[in-house]
């Protein structure tokens, strides 16, 4: 039972990461891509970590996975923010796609 649930979450996680990558390739400008990357990937990573925690079943591993997820979250938000500020300083956002 636990394995089935873990498998479902793992697949969902992979789907979200895949979605984030497709978004990054397809979306027109920097800001949209940042959205896709930060949101989708983080969610995907959460799901994968949860499924792994379920599979491992030990508290120490779960806490480690949680820590990994938090770090990834922190890193991606700050870098997304900096990239956005940097590209806005260089080219202000206009209505039409670049």
């Amino acid at each position: 039972m636990i394995d089935l649930l873990a498998l479902v979450m793992l697949l969902a996680g992979c789907f979200f990461v895949f979605a984030g990558t497709v978004g990054m390739l397809r979306l027109p400008d920097v800001y949209c891509r940042l959205h896709a990357l930060t949101k989708a990937d983080n969610l995907g990573l959460l799901l994968i970590c949860l499924s792994l925690a379920l599979l491992a079943g030990r508290l120490r591993i779960t806490l480690l996975l949680l820590l990994i997820w938090l770090l990834a979250l922190l890193a991606s938000t700050v870098s997304a923010h900096l990239i956005a500020r940097h590209s806005r300083a260089r080219r202000p956002p206009t209505g039409e796609p670049q």
Partner: protein
């Protein structure tokens, strides 16, 4: 069984794909970024092969720091002469393709032949595992690095020191470079530093401590610290200082000095050099090496003899 193969083939393809991007890419900066990705893929493969120490090292040093060093070097080139820095000087020649294919074929045949050849029954690795418990260490790689082949590690730390002193020949002739990124004074960035710095130090200590029994050790810990050092430089908490100070120089020399002690102390007691002096001495040496690795790589990134605190 075939699931293993599929994963291996996938990993192999990813690795070669990234390598192709690095080698054949048109823009230089893209190649550098792909090189970092290549380093990470390499780390995954080390993990897949069961060489955990190497995975850690390659991720931290191979991908992380080498990538950082290359990017900062690239940024300096652009700073000097933007158009020349990315000058497209690759000349495509069919001879090169032919030679490359030939060498690849040669290496492949040699590798495959080596895989299937008869092996000597007794290898140094087996002896290491057999005699590991004499050293009280759990992790065989650290055993080899520090106890059985300690002299290699000493010379390797000397190579790192030479690289730093050698780079001082170049960097002392030119003015210090700015290493901070735009927008480094943002509160958001300051919180990032406030969170990551202590965590990085904690992880480094953890890696150093468990290095004796599980994958980890001085180099990996040093690399993590160097990574945080790079972060501090980028965010302006630390700035390159023009004049070197005694502390920086001592830290640089610590690793080689500690290992030299491990050689000279047993010699003074009449025992062969690098004779095993107990686990405590190993930890002491590893700590010193960690400090040396961290400080050297950070200073190499900064291109400066020492660092000073940036304005808070």
């Amino acid at each position: 069984m075939n699931a293993q193969i599929v994963v291996d083939i996938a990993l192999g393809l990813i690795l070669v794909g990234l390598a192709a991007q690095v080698a054949l890419g048109r823009h230089l900066f893209r190649s550098i970024v792909f090189y970092v990705a290549f380093g990470l893929a390499m780390a995954v493969i080390w993990a897949r092969l069961g060489a955990a120490d190497l995975a850690l090292a390659d991720a931290a040093i191979g991908a992380g720091l080498t990538g950082a060093l290359m990017m900062v070097a690239f940024r300096r080139l652009v700073g000097i002469d933007p158009e020349q820095a990315q000058a497209q000087m690759t000349r495509h020649s069919h001879v090169a393709v032919a030679v490359a294919a030939l060498t690849a074929g040669l290496v492949a045949t040699v590798g495959l032949a080596a895989l299937t050849m008869a092996r000597a029954p007794e290898s140094a690795g087996m002896q290491v595992l057999a005699r590991l418990e004499e050293t009280g260490l759990g992790n065989p790689v650290t055993g080899v690095l520090l106890v059985f082949r300690g002299f290699d590690t000493l010379i390797e730390m000397a190579v790192l020191l030479t690289a730093f002193v050698g780079s001082r020949v170049m960097t002392q002739r030119s003015r210090l470079n700015v290493t901070t990124i735009s927008g480094f004074e943002l509160p958001l960035v300051r919180t990032l530093v406030a969170v990551i710095l202590p965590l990085a130090v904690l992880i480094a200590m953890h890696l150093l401590w468990i290095g004796a029994d599980q994958p980890g050790g001085a180099f990996q810990a040093g690399a993590v610290l160097a990574g945080s050092g790079v972060l501090l430089l980028l965010t302006g908490t630390l700035l390159p200082a023009p004049r070197s100070n005694a502390m920086a120089r001592l830290a640089l020399v610590a690793g080689v000095a500690a290992l030299s002690l491990l050689v000279l102390v047993p010699l003074s007691q009449g025992r062969p050099p690098l004779a095993f002096l107990g686990k405590g001495s190993l930890l002491f040496a590893e700590a010193a090496m960690m400090v040396s690795v961290a400080v050297s790589l950070t200073l190499l990134f900064a291109g400066a003899p020492a660092l000073k605190a940036g304005r808070q």
